[in-house]
C-alpha cells in the first residue's frame, strides 16, 4: 500500500508500523473515567467493514504518527493527517 504522507508525499506502507484504531488517542480522563470506560477504551473496537481511522507510525521515515482513513474492504485511502496536529486541536 502507499500512504500519502502530509509532509513527504507517497510512501510505501512498509515504512510504517500499524498501531491500531485512531480511537486509541481518546484516552479516558483519569480523573473522571469509570472502570467500564477504561475497559471499552482498551478492549472494544468498532472494527468496521468500510472507512476506518487508524494510526500508522512512520518508523522507517520521519517518525510521525499519521491518522489514515482507509477502507478495510478495498484498502482505498481517503485521508491522511498528522496525529499530533489533530490531537492538539
Amino acid at each position: 500500500m502507499i500512504i500519502n504522507h502530509p509532509l513527504l508525499g507517497p510512501r510505501d506502507s512498509a515504512e510504517f508500523v500499524y498501531l491500531g484504531a485512531a480511537a486509541l488517542m481518546d484516552r479516558p480522563d483519569p480523573e473522571t473515567a469509570s472502570a467500564e470506560d477504561w475497559h471499552d477504551y482498551a478492549y472494544l473496537r468498532d472494527n468496521p467493514a468500510g472507512p476506518h481511522r487508524e494510526l500508522w507510525f512512520h518508523e522507517g521515515g520521519d517518525r510521525s504518527i499519521l491518522i489514515v482513513t482507509r477502507d478495510t474492504t478495498t484498502h482505498e485511502i481517503t485521508g491522511v493527517e498528522l496525529a499530533r496536529e489533530v490531537a492538539s486541536k
Binding site: 500500500m1 506502507s13 512498509a14 500499524y18 498501531l19 491500531g20 484504531a21 472502570a35 467500564e36 475497559h39 471499552d40 482498551a42 478492549y43 472494544l44 473496537r45 468498532d46 472494527n47 468496521p48 467493514a49 476506518h52 487508524e54 482507509r70 478495510t72 474492504t73 478495498t74 484498502h75
Partner: protein, 416 residues
C-alpha cells in the same frame, strides 16, 4: 447414504450412478430451536455435535455464500495442541482428540495426518519458554518432546545448519500434531449434520438479528425471517459486522492473513515445521504442494487479500531456514479474514442478549480448534452453560483482568 468400501466398488463398476448429493439444499423453515449463523467449519461442527451429541435436531445452519467458503477453505490445515496456558491447553487437546476420531465419527475421510509438528528453537530464552510450554502440555495430558540439535539434524537434514543467521539450538515437537484436508472438514461435518436432519441453508445472508424486549427471537435473512429459540454466531472474521446488528462492539479486530502453496513436489517434509526466528511455517499436502504461511499483514482488513511485503517476509523466513526451496515455485497465494482478539484467545460465551450466543476471536488458530469449538459451542447452546474445556473463553475476562495471552503482547490484536 453411508460410504463404505463396498459402496465405492459397486459405484465404480456401475458408472457412479448411485451417488447422491452430500447434503440437501432445503428451504428455510419458519422456526428452529437453534439457528447457527455461519456455514464454516465451526458452524457446521456445532450443528453436527448438536445433533449427534446433544440430541438437537431442529437446527439450521445459515450461510451467506457456499459452505466452507470462509477460513476453513483457505487455511494452512495444521492441527496441534501445543499451548502454554491453562485456559487454552485442555481445550486444544480436547480438539486434537476429536480430530483423531473424526473419520469414524463422520464416515468421511478428511485425511487427518498426524505426521507431527516441530517448533524450532534459536535462543536460550526461547528454549526456556518452550520447555515451560512443553511441560504445560504434558501436565495437561498432551504429548510434547524436546529435541536437541542432533535429533533435529537427524530428522530434518534439509534445514539450514550451515550458515544460519540464527542457528538452530533445539526444538519442541508434538508428534500427534499434523494436518487435515481442510475442505473435507466442512463437507464432512455438513454431510453428517445433514444426515441427522440439520438444515444447511446456503446463499442466505443474515440482514438483521431480531431482538424483542432483550430477547433474541431469530434472524432476518435474504430468504425472510427465520425464528429461533437460540441463535449462535460463528462467523469468524465477520464477527464484528454481524454482532453490530445486535448493537454489540467486540474485543476483536479483523485482519488479513495470507497463505501460500507451491507447485506439487515429490514428498520432502515429514510434518509441520515452524521457524522460531522468523515468520515461516510449512507442511506438505498429500498432493505434494508445500503449504506455508507466516505473520498477518498487520492492518485491519476485510479484503481477503494481502500485499507483497508479507509475501517477501514469509519467503525470506523460508529461505533462511530451508534454502532448498529456492527453486520451488510459489503457485498460489490467498488471504483470509482473521478475527484477532485482544489477547489472542477465543470467546465462546453468552451475550448480554438472552438467547444470543457468540463464538469467535479465533485469530489465526481457528482451524485446529474446529471440532472442540463446535463441541463446546453446541454444549453452550444446548445446555446454556460453558463446556468444561472452554470455561475461560468469556467476554468479561478483559473486564476482570483474566486475559489468556499466550504471546504476552497485550491489547494489540495485530501482535498476537
Amino acid at each position: 447414504m453411508r460410504y463404505s468400501g463396498f459402496k465405492v466398488i459397486k459405484e465404480a463398476l456401475t458408472g457412479h450412478k448411485g451417488w447422491k448429493p452430500a447434503w440437501r439444499d432445503p428451504d428455510p423453515q419458519p422456526h428452529y430451536d437453534i439457528v447457527i449463523i455461519g456455514g464454516g467449519g465451526h458452524g457446521l461442527a456445532t450443528a453436527h455435535y448438536l445433533a449427534s451429541v446433544y440430541g438437537q435436531h431442529k437446527v439450521a445452519v445459515i450461510e451467506k455464500g457456499w459452505i466452507g467458503g470462509g477460513n476453513v477453505g483457505r487455511n494452512t490445515t495444521i492441527i496441534r495442541s501445543n499451548y502454554l496456558l491453562d485456559g487454552n491447553e485442555p481445550f486444544y487437546e480436547f480438539s486434537l482428540k476429536l480430530w483423531e476420531g473424526l473419520e469414524q465419527d463422520l464416515n468421511y475421510n478428511a485425511m487427518v495426518s498426524q505426521r507431527g509438528i516441530m517448533n524450532l528453537i534459536h535462543s536460550d530464552a526461547q528454549r526456556d519458554a518452550f520447555i515451560r510450554r512443553g511441560n504445560a502440555m504434558i501436565l495437561n495430558g498432551a504429548d510434547a518432546e524436546y529435541l536437541d540439535l542432533a535429533q533435529i539434524k537427524k530428522e530434518y537434514p534439509f534445514l539450514n545448519f550451515d550458515d544460519a543467521r540464527f542457528p538452530i539450538k533445539g526444538g519442541l515437537a508434538q508428534r500427534r500434531g499434523g494436518t487435515v484436508r481442510h475442505d473435507a472438514v466442512a463437507w464432512g461435518y455438513a454431510r453428517a449434520a445433514d444426515s441427522r436432519g440439520v438444515d444447511i441453508i446456503q446463499n442466505c445472508q443474515v440482514t438483521g438479528i431480531r431482538i424483542e424486549d432483550g430477547k433474541c427471537r431469530g434472524v432476518e435473512t435474504s430468504k425472510g425471517f427465520i425464528g429461533a429459540g437460540r441463535v449462535g454466531c460463528a462467523v469468524a472474521g465477520n464477527s464484528s459486522r454481524l454482532m453490530a446488528k445486535a448493537g454489540m462492539r467486540l474485543p476483536i479486530e479483523s485482519h488479513v492473513l495470507q497463505a501460500f502453496v507451491s507447485e506439487g513436489l515429490k514428498p520432502v517434509l515429514p510434518g509441520v515445521i515452524t521457524f522460531g526466528a522468523g515468520h515461516f511455517y510449512v507442511s506438505q499436502s498429500d498432493k505434494g504442494g508445500l503449504v506455508f504461511g507466516g505473520d498477518i499483514d498487520g492492518y485491519n482488513s476485510y479484503a481477503q487479500r494481502g500485499n507483497l511485503p508479507v509475501v517477501e517476509d514469509v519467503c525470506e523466513g523460508g529461505m533462511a531456514i530451508m534454502p532448498m526451496i529456492g527453486r520451488a515455485r510459489l503457485l498460489r497465494m490467498w488471504g483470509g479474514i482473521m478475527d484477532m482478539s485482544m489477547d489472542g484467545s477465543p470467546i465462546i460465551d453468552r451475550t448480554h442478549i438472552d438467547g444470543l450466543y457468540f463464538n469467535g476471536g479465533w485469530c489465526y488458530g481457528g482451524f485446529k480448534a474446529t471440532p472442540a469449538s463446535g463441541y463446546a459451542f453446541a454444549h453452550l447452546l444446548a445446555r446454556d452453560e460453558p463446556h468444561e474445556t472452554a470455561t475461560a473463553y468469556r467476554f468479561d475476562r478483559f473486564r476482570t483482568g483474566h486475559m489468556i495471552d499466550e504471546k504476552g503482547m497485550g491489547n494489540q490484536p495485530n501482535l498476537h
